[in-house]
Symmetry: D2
């Protein structure tokens, strides 16, 4: 595939789009999609994502990037080139509940997930059979608060061994250490089973039931060291009523969790998300 994505952010200033689009034109690129956003056209931060194709991209990539240095310096850009041919590698972390993992495996099987699921890591054996039946390695690493660091050492080794790009916490019910989170900044995607910032922390469905809410939700976000406070990627909700107890909410919620996480992962894989402060821009 000759397709790439150029992601830029910088201080908003006149002439960026003109310069970048001239650059791509001069290098023979055919623009497929382009999205931009400015927090404020007068002195704000500017973001652009351009998806383009260049014939024989593989041979030209190096030159392209080095030619781009001039523009990068002129406008003081932060810029990244992402190549569709470099398929991202995923490690899925899961505890007991398999529904989010299943959704990802399913998308992967039907060819809708533009990534390799390289391995699954779990602190339970529950999903081993299903995962291995698809030919994906399954690593059982028992975990608890006391042995957090040892556990994470093993996990890091695996992540390195499989050259993983993205860590997906598909209902992985262990808290990660600050060091671990820092190592994989903006590379860890979590699904939280509530409409954040409502019901941060444990047992959100029980608490939703006790509060008597009329809608429940799920939130996918990048993991930071503030619990459930990382940049939100996607959220959705479903209606409930007085007949739904915590158990019913959990079942209804699983369906939301599945689709919210799947959308967030898809956008991440397509390099559609730019993290800016504690927010995401999703192009």
């Amino acid at each position: 595939k000759n397709r790439a994505r150029l992601l830029i952010n910088c201080a908003d200033q006149p002439g960026i789009v003109a310069a970048v689009s001239k650059f791509l034109f001069d290098h023979g690129a055919n623009i497929i999609e382009s999205n931009q956003y400015s927090t404020d056209p007068h002195g704000g931060e500017f973001f652009i994502r351009i998806e383009f194709e260049i014939p024989n991209l593989k041979e030209k990539a190096k030159e392209l990037e080095s030619d781009f240095t001039a523009i990068k310096e002129q406008f003081a850009l932060e810029a990244t080139f992402k190549y569709v041919s470099e398929v991202k590698k995923i490690a899925v972390f899961v505890s007991k509940e398999p529904h989010c993992l299943l959704e990802l495996l399913w998308e992967w099987q039907s060819g809708d997930l533009m990534a390799d699921i390289s391995l699954v890591i779990s602190n339970h054996e529950t999903s081993r059979e299903m995962v291995e039946s698809l030919g994906i390695p399954y690593y059982y690493i028992p975990a608890n608060k006391e042995i957090r660091r040892e556990v994470e050492e093993k996990q890091k080794e695996l992540i390195e061994k499989y050259q993983v790009d993205v860590l997906i916490l598909a209902r992985y019910m262990q808290i990660l250490t600050p060091d671990f989170v820092k190592t994989y900044q903006h590379q860890i995607i979590n699904i939280h089973h509530s409409f954040l910032p409502a019901f941060i922390g444990a047992k959100p469905y029980e608490r939703a039931y006790n509060r008597g809410v009329k809608l429940i939700g799920a939130t996918s976000h990048y993991v930071t060291n503030d619990l459930d406070e990382g940049p939100i990627i996607e959220q959705d909700i479903s209606r409930v009523d007085h007949r739904d107890n915590a158990e019913a909410m959990k079942k209804i919620g699983q369906s939301i969790e599945r689709s919210v996480l799947a959308r967030a992962v898809k956008w991440h894989l397509e390099d559609r998300i730019i993290v800016y402060g504690n927010k995401t821009i999703v192009f």
Copy 2:
């Protein structure tokens, strides 16, 4: 109109429905709608709402209620008869933003609000012209933290004078005293401009924007003395994205606030809501 509603709650036990429906049948009632719910059929709390018609209900109402005493005692019921012919009287409280008030006036004008809007009370003059042009009295009572009690005395006088049944806080930005709230228990309906329990308190749109949420919402609830913690009646949400700043969220949110409050008020007027603990059952 010969229509009434019977609202019952009690400990769940066999035979209630049989007894109540036999009672209504013996009194010549035609059941229009009936809804029931039990928190747990084995030892839980039981709720039923029956809407029915009896020819010449007005003459028979007294006898009906006194005849019902036997069943009430047998099953230790809490029971209320509500008569559709006794149209409820509403006092709308509003501060500066008129959109929720407008929605209610509109529904009232088009005959969709089964109630009288007896008066509007405001701590601003903003909406006077519009309200008075519809022939509804408008009372301007300046308010602030320091003079809360004096303000509420005046409000209470008006509520008494107009024999008000329901107080609707249609974006009334003053906190009520515990005494006031206690006097009108389950009679004060508020609209909060967030998806509770997220963003309790002031400036929810600003905080939603700062948190980077992907959905914003509104919540209508009965007012209790825990700020924004009263029994939730209805909630709804709308999608936002990174392009929506706090101002844009506010505009989008107004439309949700309008419809959420309107639904909550409608259900209250139709006696569809039973408050149980800090939750509502909406039949």
Copy 3:
């Protein structure tokens, strides 16, 4: 399990609820849930669904039903007792696209489908491996317009052999003969990949794309001999925009199809659906 459901419809008339609830009380039933609806309290059609428990129901079921005959005749009721212990048997029909089948298998695996999936019938071999890996028999019956009757004979034999109660067309792309449909009235549930009555018939996503709609949908309905005109059980939609071509709509739509069909099947299995004319009442 000692749980049963009583489904009744009849001409609306006073005293039905009183009689039925007295009957259940006299037979020691504990009512779990009860829902009723009348098309018109004055001379309309009346529907009620009562879910209840009776200790040792199995031994008493026969007596219960025979005792009920008196009430049945008095009010000219159509009434059915359904026993939760009699687990329904499902035959899933599928063509090439497996997503709806997968959703049902998944719900079944996680214990959320109160039924046995007895067999899968397909005119393609696509899903054999997955189905058989779960221990469910898979029957490949090639089908086309010319051999419709022979195909259906084989299908009928299997349905009889497995004593199937419900046929689910989980994206089965063959039209059934009037005879077949008649044999299984209100027992065949289809998922149509559009928001009916829009885009009846073939290729709804292509036509939705060509029409330029901003929302796409899916509809689950009982199959009748008017193509896509049977009683609708459930519908849902998802937002699309100008960037979504027919292929993208198809992917988005699959997710709606899955959840709409799953809900419809669940309600059918819980005996929550009463067909009245060409409509459904879903309690």
Copy 4:
């Protein structure tokens, strides 16, 4: 205001964005927002909408447009410059039901409608008082099938007199002649009270009720000479169930109609809509 919008469509070809953005940069423009779309990057149709600001735009507008001719010719563009300072003038057409008109008046009053409502034309007197109380001229022109041409002559005179830019059919229940529609191509916005293409034509709620749908909707579209077949701008739906008769659906639907029409009008006024064939691109 120094703000303008440039709308372009043309055959997709490399270099357009580079050329246009260089042009705007050279003319001192500050780009506020930019959206683009291509039906197919290889030989498809390309669309771009750029919102920008230029100091002292009013004096420079003429020069800007004439300078742009070169690019226009080079790439064979269809291009339009729209100036925010040229506030659009609206004529609202309404029959009996006022809810959509009311929504527009309300938005206008609260300053959310970037347009002047220059006049209201109706074949009924119903809304006169409300409209005139806001200082907007109200023209009562009785209408029926037989006198269609005479009626439209009068309407055309008013449209000319008030120099109207947009005609909004806010539940105007008269069919327009082909000549009239042709005169105001892509300038007439209608709200249809169904989820098109379901229930084209008259009495959609009655037909939705008869079909037993579980969702009802509304559609806003540009008027063409194929009844209810014009390019769709926006659609939305609301859930209904078996308890909702046609009358209830109508009430629920009014709320959807209001918000769908309001969104469509807003996008039109912001020049966000490009009609392409029988579809809209909404940026």
